[in-house]
Amino acid sequence: MRVAKLSWSPQAGLSSTGDEPQADLVLYFGARPVLAEGGCHQALREAFPGAVVVGCSTGGQSLGLEVEEDGAVGAALRFAGTRVRLATENAIERGASHACGRRLGAALAAPDLAGVLVLSDGLHVNGSALAAGITERLGPGVPVSGGLAGDGAAFAATLVGAGEAAPAERRVAAIGFYGPSVRFGHGSAGGWRRFGPERRITQADGPVLHELDGAPALDLYERYLGDEAQGLPGSALLFPLRIWNPARPGHELVRTVLGVDKAARSMTFAGDMPAGWRAQLMRGGVDGLVSGAAEAARAAAQRCEGAAGDGLALLVSCIGRRLLMGQRTAEEIEAVAAQFPPGQPILGFYSYGELSPLAASGHCELHNQTMTVTLLREAA
């Protein structure tokens, strides 16, 4: 497997570390305003005519150790013995996310399907339902990872480009990897610390959280954010919510805010917020988040042991982490890189939600506020 690093900007156009146009798959990530023009997607399709080209908008992207906010970065992958296939769903409605997931699963299902990478719209798709739909169709044996597209701190529009289709909203792209030699290592960790009393979700409707302990959820966030409440919904990312089913302690999820309704005093999260579940605020420090990123990378590396070559480390990290870490964001990428051999190609973006299998069950789940690492390699 060979990997060429790509970067693109409206001014400079495309530059590549490799020199051959032969690639099976091209992945790219860029700022929403940049991708919206469509030039990047088009340039990549022209440069790699035989490749499946897939990318999405972000809350910052990185190629190597630096996080960029302008332009776009990417990677061209050429496999030795692995096939890839693209499935897309367009014009998705939030309520149809589960069905969409099932259709994608069905489109990719095959006996030698070894893993699936998903890039999804970040605002109009219920990530939990999408993941559940795909896994329902494919079963827990096929690892599914990826993430939801981002839009910086704007939360206005998220774009996904796939194959012939230029980047657009309400799109989900899923890439299937087939064959016996491909290896799909994955790991996901947060590094956030729980904080404050345990609360109970007393009123919720799907991903819309109305009340915690009988009081409006937005009141709680506004109190904790103080002046920073003006930055809602983005600033709510500073206090993710850890939720779990009291009947199944230990199976906990972290949820992040996508939007708020000040009139209704409710908050919309990236996944379901089941009433009756417990909830606890979380807060992070740079050191904790960096440790979490290292943990995710270690897990991905462990699952890929025995595969030769560099392959590609695909990082999907939450926009909330970046918001908190500021200029020190690079430290978590350094921590991930430190888990791999020197020279490991690393491509990543800051998302509105991460998709990765749960370590315990193998079921793909929507995560928030995590660093999710997918290590793609081919066996010798």
């Binding site: 009393p197 103080g226 920073e228 500073l238 206090f239 807060r283 500021g326 200029q327 020190r328 430290e331």
Partner: protein
């Protein structure tokens, strides 16, 4: 170099790298912006952390207050729980899965007869049972066995409840599973309940007054005896009742009557063999099963002995009481194969014995049943006669002995049979009295007589016979008032004839009833005077208007001097008490002459007229003036 310093150095290195252009020159302004921005980030993070910590402390404080309140609530709840446990009537122990006591109330120890503190949290079931067994729990059973029993039947959930003795108390043990594990053991003292149940069971089968088996249990015993009789072990069923018992109740009161029944019971018990059985069927009715398996089974001898012992005088609360008994006997299995037919046969025999004279015994004969059927048919016919107006009244005139003028008529009841013949009262009145039909018949007679009398001239009166049963019923005075009001007859023209049997009843009640009748304005006559036991005393207790001299004295007036003396005495008595005297059954001129001689005021009899239908009354009245011209003088 410390960890923090290393990180800050790396950050600055990155900032420096970013501010360094391709030519190696450093953009100081950009570097300063980045450095300032990273200070701001750190400061914002610090402020955010401070704020979060303050708020969290506030929240935790609130949560703590809430917890304290809950603890307080729980402690109050605990006190209530302990009060409830301490005051509940049941003994209670909560056991955990290892059969250790978690909670126990004092009542449990009391019930098991244990000293205070013998069972405390931590005590095992086995220890508790062992201590209880040492104090009389599960007598005759080893502690280990008792524990096993309880474990098997209660803790395993196989039995809902078990009963165990503790000393002389009966305890009911039950258990309920607790949510999670363990169970609640409940102990109830059911000694009283069991005793009560035994009492109720006894009451259901026995007569309260005498303690003898009652009718229901006696019927069951007959059934058992009948089952044996099928195997050839026959028995005799004797039914008896007390003669004149009702009078004892009426005159001396129920408490004395009850004592008498108790005494009779004692005598009967003393008379019977152990294998025989006596029961009280109700009122003054008793029944006996005589076992005929042992020889000699002499039922007649038993009956005779019973009549003897029951008839012997009783001395109760200073009253000397004499009652008799009559006995009906049925033999099983010959006279019936079921308890009720056998009892009925003995009853019929009893009825016959009473009819034949008191102090008698009779064996059942199939003919008795036929006679009973006949009586029943008569009763039905009587009801039918009432409904279809098949009764009629004849009127026999009463004449003034001095003037021989008609002073009134006595109404006499007849029952018109389908063949046109008229039955005399003696053939149906006893049955009418027995069945209560007399009340309706008597009411009809009163109305009919009053209506008829209204058509008669002048102050002519009508005399109506009143049955003692009719007289006794509370509405009788109202019936008389209604009959008078309905007909418009002047009360003074109605004379009610009562017999001595009325006076045998509670005299105060009778006199009160007589006074109410008198208050209506009607006249009262004492009928059949001289045939009873103590007629004279009745005359003292109520001022009758008329004394009617029984026909038996009148008939002998001519022939026997004692009869003449008696009639003379009665008439004299009447004169001195201001009562009229009427002689019944006057058939000859000589009798009339005799009556006139002693000063009797009125007379009736065939000498003057047979009873006549109402339509003949006007003709009779018209003819009397010529028939008895002497009367005109």
């Amino acid at each position: 170099m410390g960890d923090v310093e290393a990180k800050m150095e790396r950050l600055f290195a990155r900032q420096l790298a970013r501010a360094t252009g391709p030519d190696g020159g450093v953009d100081i302004r950009a570097l300063a912006r980045m450095v300032r921005s990273s200070y701001e980030e750190a400061e914002r993070d610090r402020l955010r952390t401070d704020r979060a910590m303050d708020l969290m402390a506030e929240e935790l404080e609130g949560a703590n207050v809430e917890l304290e309140r809950l603890l307080q609530d729980i402690s109050v709840q605990n006190l209530r729980f302990e009060a409830a446990l301490g005051n509940m009537p049941h003994g209670l122990a909560m056991l955990d899965a290892a059969e250790r006591v978690l909670v126990v109330n004092a009542r449990l120890g009391e019930m098991l007869g244990l000293p205070d503190g013998a069972v405390v949290p931590g005590t095992t079931l086995a220890e508790m049972v062992a201590a209880a067994c040492a104090h009389g729990f599960c007598p005759g059973q080893e502690a280990e066995e008792a524990t096993r029993d309880i474990r098997r039947s209660l803790l395993s959930g196989s039995a809902a409840e078990i009963e165990r003795m503790a000393g002389r108390r009966m305890l009911l043990l039950s258990s309920r599973r607790m949510e999670g594990s363990g169970c609640v053991l409940l102990v109830q003292d059911i000694t009283e309940r069991r005793a009560q149940e035994a009492r109720i069971a006894h009451l259901a089968q026995h007569d309260v007054l005498t303690g003898l088996p009652n009718r229901a249990s006696f019927l069951a015993r007959i059934d058992q005896a009948l089952a044996r009789a099928q195997r050839g072990e026959g028995f005799a069923l004797l039914c008896l009742d007390l003669d004149r018992f009702k009078q004892v109740n009426d005159t001396l009161g129920h408490p004395i009557g009850d004592l008498l029944l108790t005494e009779v019971t004692a005598r009967l018990r003393a008379t019977l063999r152990e294998t025989d059985m006596v029961a009280r069927l109700g009122g003054d009715e008793f029944a006996i099963i005589q076992d005929l398996r042992r020889q000699p089974p002499d039922t007649v001898a038993l009956a005779r002995r019973i009549v003897e012992v029951v008839s012997a005088p009783y001395l109760i609360n200073g009253h000397r009481i004499v009652v008799g008994t009559s006995i009906g006997i049925a033999l099983a299995p010959a006279d019936g194969a079921a308890a009720d037919t056998l009892l009925k046969a003995a009853d019929l025999a009893l009825y016959r014995a009473k009819a034949d004279g008191r102090g008698a015994w009779r064996f059942f004969e199939p003919a008795m049943d036929a006679r009973m059927q006949e009586r029943r048919a008569t009763e039905i016919a009587l009801r039918d006669a009432l409904e279809h107006r098949n009764f009629t009244l004849l009127y026999q005139p009463l004449l003034d002995v001095g003037t021989l003028r008609v002073s009134g008529f006595e109404a006499l009841l007849r029952w018109r049979q389908p063949d046109g013949t008229l039955s005399l009262p003696a053939t149906f009145i006893p049955l009418a009295e027995e069945t209560g039909l007399i009340v309706q018949i008597g009411d009809w007679v009163l109305r009919e007589a009053c209506r008829a009398a209204l058509a008669w001239p002048g102050q002519m009166s009508v005399a109506v016979n009143v049955s003692s049963v009719q007289f006794r019923q509370p509405r009788f005075v109202d019936q008389v008032r209604d009959a008078l009001a309905e007909s418009g007859l002047a009360p003074s023209r109605l004379e009610l004839e009562v017999t001595e049997t009325i006076m045998l009843q509670d005299s105060a009640v009778v006199v009160a009833q007589l006074n109410r009748l008198r208050a209506l304005g009607v006249r009262i006559a004492m009928d059949d005077f001289g045939t009873g036991y103590s007629s004279l005393s009745y005359l003292r207790s109520f001022p009758f208007d008329t004394i009617k001299i029984d026909r038996s004295f009148v008939r002998d007036l001519d022939a026997r001097g004692d009869a003449r003396a008696i009639v003379g005495a009665i008439v004299g008595l009447g004169q001195s008490l201001g009562m009229r005297t009427t002689a019944e059954g006057v058939e000859t001129e000589a009798e009339l002459a005799g009556l006139r001689r002693v000063g009797c005021t009125d007379a009736q009899g065939f000498l003057f007229s047979h009873p006549i239908p109402p339509e003949d009354v006007p003709d009779f009245l018209a003819s009397t003036a010529s028939a008895f011209p002497a009367a005109a003088e």
